[in-house]
Structures are given as structure tokens and as C-alpha cells.
Amino acid sequence: MERTCIKLNIPSDVFYLEPVRAFIGNLAQHLGFSRKRIADIQLAVDEICNNAVNHGSVSTEAVISLQISVRAQVLEILVQDAGTGVDWLTPERLSEIEANRSPKNESGHGIFLSKLLTDTYEMRYNAEGGTDVRVTFYQEN
């Protein structure tokens, strides 16, 4: 299969995360991922997008960009935010969240979950001052 790229731009608002999750789930199903793996993919993307909205963008005027690449047995998703959020996840803040994560805490589980559920997870700060999170999911044989 040749590499195919789908681009989605959504307003930075959790209202739009449900349709994104539905689309990703339908796409993964169409590509032949298992039911269990589809649930993992949907949860990981939900968590990453939720962080992009809550930490990476200051208002609904900001845009969250998703680039979804499909190639043989691999689904790769890049989520980019504008980096204008008031509670932006600096490297120091990220280290603090990960070090202090506890099941008893109400928050701080999103990145932990995303890393667990993906085959590869990469976070970078982009040239525009925002955050890029690139994840891949490999299809089981």
C-alpha cells in the first residue's frame, strides 16, 4: 500500500474531539485493526488531542492539526498544537507530572496512557512554539 495522508484541522475545543475519535476508530476498523487495538488507538488519540486543547491552545480560535498517515500495516498520527496555552506543558512541567503520577490523582494520566497504548510515541516542540506528538500503531499479523 502506498503512503496516504489525511489532514484534519479542528478548533481547539473538546467538543470536536468526539467526532475525531469516531473518525479514527472508523479508519482503524477499515484498515483491519482488531477491536481491542481500535479501542487503544481511540483512547491514545483522545488523550493526545485533549492535552493539545487543554495545554497547547489558548482559545477555540486556535487550531489543532492532525496528520494521519496510512501505509502497509502502520497507522501514524501527528497531532500539532499552537503552543499558546496558559498551562503549556514545558519539559520541566512534563517531568514533574510524570514523576508525581499516582492512581489517586485526578489528572496527569494522559501522556502516561498514550505512551502505554502506542507502539511509538514522540513529543517535540515545534518551530511555531507548539507541541508535536507523533505516534504509530502497528497492525497485528
Partner: protein, 114 residues
Amino acid sequence: MAKTDLMMLREDSGIKIIEIKTDLSSYAASDLRKMLEMLLEQKVDKVIVNLHQVHHINSTAVGALVGVAKRLRQNGGDLKICELADNLTRTFNLIGASTVIEIYESENSAITAF
């Protein structure tokens, strides 16, 4: 009986039971949090959240449940959850929240456990 589009609130044996009728990503989780906060303000001490119609839950919604369970226990009450699909159980287990919140296979067993 109070009812919203997303969740229904009823009572059984003196326990408030919230039946969720939507998947719990962050948008719906904010409504769940509001309903739980309302119950806390009303000094309700026993709550069960029935998730049998929920196919997805994220960490924001799990966090809301954990937070309210902790606050209820401080006053001698509790929040229990029941009827989780396998992938929801997996999410609670991965986060570790299944060590903080009691999970039951059926609503009846959750009621009996109070």
C-alpha cells in the same frame, strides 16, 4: 427522577445511581463532573455510576470519578462503579484507578456492597 440527554439519575435503597448514556471523552466528562458536584452539594454520600452503555472513557472522566470517590469517603460515603466493558476495565487498570475505586460486575452487587 432527574434526566439529561447524557445521563440519568435515579435512587435505589438510598443510593444515588447515575446511568451514563454516552461515551466519556472530555466533553461528556464535564457534564458528569457537574452532576457529581451537584450530588456532593446535596450531601449525598452513596453513589453508584453504571457504565453499561459506555464504550469509551478517557483519563479526564476517570479522574472525575476518582476525585469524587475520595471526597465522599472523607465523609463516610463512597462512589462505586459497575458494569464496565472490557476496554473500560483495561483503562481503569492501566491508570491504576481500579485500586482506588471499587468496580462491580452488576449494579445489584454494587448496591449490596454498601
